[in-house]
């Protein structure tokens, strides 16, 4: 049986769309909702800005999980960005899964600016799952570790 490292702190990269999820994260903060400190938020103009390379790069630099947050379908500030994200990321996550990177390490969520509670809930769930799974040993680049 795999022995879990109690001190394991997953590194989570969270891409947040400027118009919805970033404000949602803000709301979570100002409403004093707790979500794990391991989540590192990167603000992006639209979830569609996330190049699949960004996700890979995050894993390369040692991320244990990558989550992309965007506006709900239909609510995109640029009308249609998140629809493209949806197709693109579905394929990318499926491909990572195919190569043996567990599908629980990648996630796409829709979080609106009013959903601070949902943001906190999603992050807690996601990080909780990563705690169970342990460190990502499959995609990290050894040269990027200290």
């Amino acid at each position: 049986m795999q022995v879990k490292d109690q001190n394991f702190k997953p590194l989570v990269v969270s891409f947040c769309c400027n118009w919805c999820s970033y404000a949602g994260a803000d709301l979570a903060g100002s409403s004093r909702l707790e979500y794990p400190a391991e989540v590192k938020i990167i603000r992006i103009p639209c979830s569609c800005r996330v190049d699949p390379l960004f996700v890979l790069r995050a894993f390369q630099r040692g991320a244990d999980g990558v989550i992309i947050n965007g506006c709900h379908p239909g609510d995109c500030h640029y009308t249609s960005g998140n629809y493209f994200t949806r197709r693109r990321m579905t394929l990318l996550f499926s491909m990572l899964d195919y190569l043996g990177i567990e599908r629980e390490r990648t996630r796409l969520e829709w979080v609106s600016a009013a959903e601070g509670a949902r943001f906190a809930k999603v992050m807690n769930e996601f990080v909780g799952k990563l705690h169970e799974m342990g460190a990502n040993k499959r995609l990290g680049d050894i040269r990027c570790k200290e």
Partner: protein, 320 residues
């Protein structure tokens, strides 16, 4: 074929002929441009002409002349894709569709212990003369991987068709069989499989160079600042990275011509990555075959309001 090429080239109707050239050995054929009617003697079309000539038309299309090109049915899918992306001008081409009974893989001959080949007769069965004696074996045993799941014998774009009976059909294999098998494994098993395959990669970039869908003028793998520039993979991560990016760049545009795996000097089944994307795209967004028509219709360039959410990949049947 040669006669037709001769006719068009000497009459000046076309300025160049893009076809295959005979090499030193009977199984050596390489794509070649003929500008001279006399040189056409070297032109050849046999079971080893597996290479897809579509991509060469990008370079040829820069000349101010008409090009005669010979395409097999599956090559026309790639050409259609290039036409749809305006990489090749249709009016500069004279396309002659030629028949194909499935192309042969010299590596498969070698693994069967057939070496020192001096001559090959292609009929229903192959008669191979070698330095060490003659062999006879069925065609199906040594077909290229891509020919095991043939897309059909219909040319999707052409000016004229010549040659043998075009309706002769080959066995239609299930192209997703291996993909489905991998999907049925656990992540750890899949990882081990790909680790084993991808670690053979020497980053020669042959798969990129031969791919008729990889047509960017500036490739991310040539950009020294991208962090994934062309160089030997230093870590296991870079192998993954290169192959994921490469496959993703052609997702929705790959016509599954199988050239990537054919040219891989290390024998990595690269087409399995592309087929995974094709399988997903067809499964999620409706049956799709790139290059079916010359219209731009990549599923990654459009969307549907009712598209599945990414968690669909966790709900699929038959995998875990």
């Amino acid at each position: 074929m040669r006669q037709k090429a001769h006719e068009l080239l000497s009459s000046g109707a076309v300025g160049a002929v893009l076809a295959w050239e005979k090499g030193e050995l009977p199984y050596d054929t390489s794509p070649a441009v003929f500008r001279d009617a006399e040189a056409l003697d070297k032109m050849v079309y046999n079971g080893f002409c597996g290479s897809n000539l579509s991509k060469y038309l990008i370079e040829q299309g820069k000349q101010d002349e008409k090009v005669l090109v010979f395409l097999k049915p599956c090559d026309t899918y790639s050409l259609n894709q290039l036409l749809s992306e305006n990489r090749v001008a249709r009016e500069k081409l004279h396309i002659i569709g030629i028949g194909c009974k499935g192309k042969l893989d010299v590596e498969k001959l070698r693994t069967q212990g057939i070496k020192g080949i001096t001559g090959i007769e292609e009929n229903e069965t192959l008669k191979i003369q070698t330095l060490y004696g003659d062999h006879e074996l069925p065609r199906e045993d040594v077909l290229l991987e891509k020919c095991l799941s043939c897309k059909g014998k219909d040319h999707k774009v052409y000016d004229e068709l010549i040659g043998e009976d075009l309706s002769a059909d080959t066995e239609q294999g299930d192209k997703y069989a291996k993909v489905a098998e991998l999907e049925g494994q656990t992540p750890a098993e899949r990882f081990a499989f790909w680790r084993g395959e991808l670690s053979k990669c020497i980053r020669c970039n042959a798969c990129r160079n031969t791919c008729p869908s990889c047509t960017c003028l500036k490739c991310v793998f040539d950009n020294a600042h991208s962090g994934v520039a062309a160089k030997v993979n230093a870590t296991e991560f870079e192998e993954n990275m290169f192959h994921i990016i490469r496959a993703f760049h052609v997702a929705g545009r790959c016509s599954d011509c199988g050239e990537c795996s054919r040219v891989c000097p290390q024998g990595i089944p690269i087409h399995l990555l592309n087929r995974k994307f094709i399988k997903d795209i067809s499964g999620f967004y409706g049956e799709f075959q790139a290059g079916e028509t010359a219209e731009l219709n990549s599923p990654l360039l459009c969307y549907d309001l009712e598209d599945a959410e990414p968690n669909i990949i966790s709900k699929r049947e038959g995998d875990n």
